[in-house]
């Protein structure tokens, strides 16, 4: 039986605002705690630098992008690399749905920011479950 392919999580690499940090915290939550068996993080900065190994990982995987702002660098870099983005998230959308959580801090998020990261992680978890279920069904077909 072939090894199950991992989903690649591609979070924002921005370090100027809390929203980039929220995407990374959410990615850590998914890849290290919630769904470690089927997800792996690829740092966006490696793609920006043209790292061959990182690009190769993307080419052979399904990507979940987690963007921190409207520039959507993670989604764009994945697309530019020729990879397949199966689900795209933006931390701003999570905030828009939960205005009471005003994120602050970059290296260290405040409680509201951490809450947004957890909410984003839950959405990514659901996408991972859906994609892996679809993959299982495809394999059975």
């Amino acid at each position: 039986m072939p090894a199950k392919k991992k989903l690649i999580l591609l979070p924002c690499s921005g370090v100027g605002k809390p929203f980039g940090t929220i995407t990374r915290e959410a990615a850590y939550q998914v890849a290290q705690e919630d769904r470690p068996e089927c997800t792996q993080i690829v740092p966006l900065s490696l793609l920006v630098m043209g790292d061959a190994d990182a690009k190769a990982l993307l080419m052979d995987a399904e990507i979940i992008s987690l963007d921190g702002c409207a520039l959507a660098c993670a989604s764009k870099m994945a697309a530019e690399s020729g990879a397949q983005v199966c689900a795209a998230f933006n931390a701003m959308d999570v905030y828009r749905a939960k205005r009471q959580y005003k994120p602050q801090g970059i290296s260290s998020l405040n409680e509201a920011g951490q809450q947004l990261a957890r909410l984003l992680a839950e959405q990514v978890d659901a996408a991972v479950d859906k994609l892996t279920e679809e993959g299982t069904q495809d394999a059975r077909a």
Binding site: K17, F19, C69, A70, Y95, R96, R99
Partner: protein, 147 residues
């Protein structure tokens, strides 16, 4: 399509369409059929960052020139913007609630904020900047910022 002034500084490009007037704060005012449509200039939206929330004064309300018209919350700042004219708010762009990012995506088009029935347009327009004046103003402002 109106002529558009464009200037680039550092990695940023800013557009100023010539078919409307501008307040120093960065709101534009476009007159059409007796109604004044307003929104944020490209320069203001880029300086402000991604818009998360927009709170516009309610439709039907009368505002004085210089009175609070709209508050925006972006990933960088929360900012109050003031009416460039006196009048009644005839309509608020419904997109401001469901997709405030339209301000960033299309500040002069789908990202318009509200429309006013003017009460003092002839007077108010004299207090606003022409596109040429606003273009010069933001060039100077951006250059000072870089220094």
């Amino acid at each position: 399509m109106p002529e558009v002034f464009v200037f680039t500084i550092d990695k940023f490009s800013f557009r100023v369409p010539t078919d409307r007037l501008y307040s120093a704060e960065g709101l534009w005012a476009l007159a059409k059929d007796g109604i004044i449509r307003t929104g944020l200039s490209d320069y203001l939206q880029q300086r402000s960052g991604d818009v998360a929330f927009v709170d516009v004064q309610p439709g039907g309300k009368r505002v004085r020139r210089g009175e609070l018209l709209v508050s925006i919350e972006t990933i960088k700042i929360t900012s109050d913007l003031h009416s460039p004219l006196a009048g009644r708010i005839a309509s608020v762009n419904p997109a401001m609630q469901r997709s405030p990012e339209d301000i960033n995506r299309d500040p002069y088009g789908e990202g318009w904020v509200c429309e006013l029935e003017p009460e003092d347009w002839e007077e108010a327009r004299l207090s606003l900047m022409t596109p040429q004046a606003y273009f010069a103003y933001i060039q100077q402002d951006a250059a000072q910022e870089l220094e």
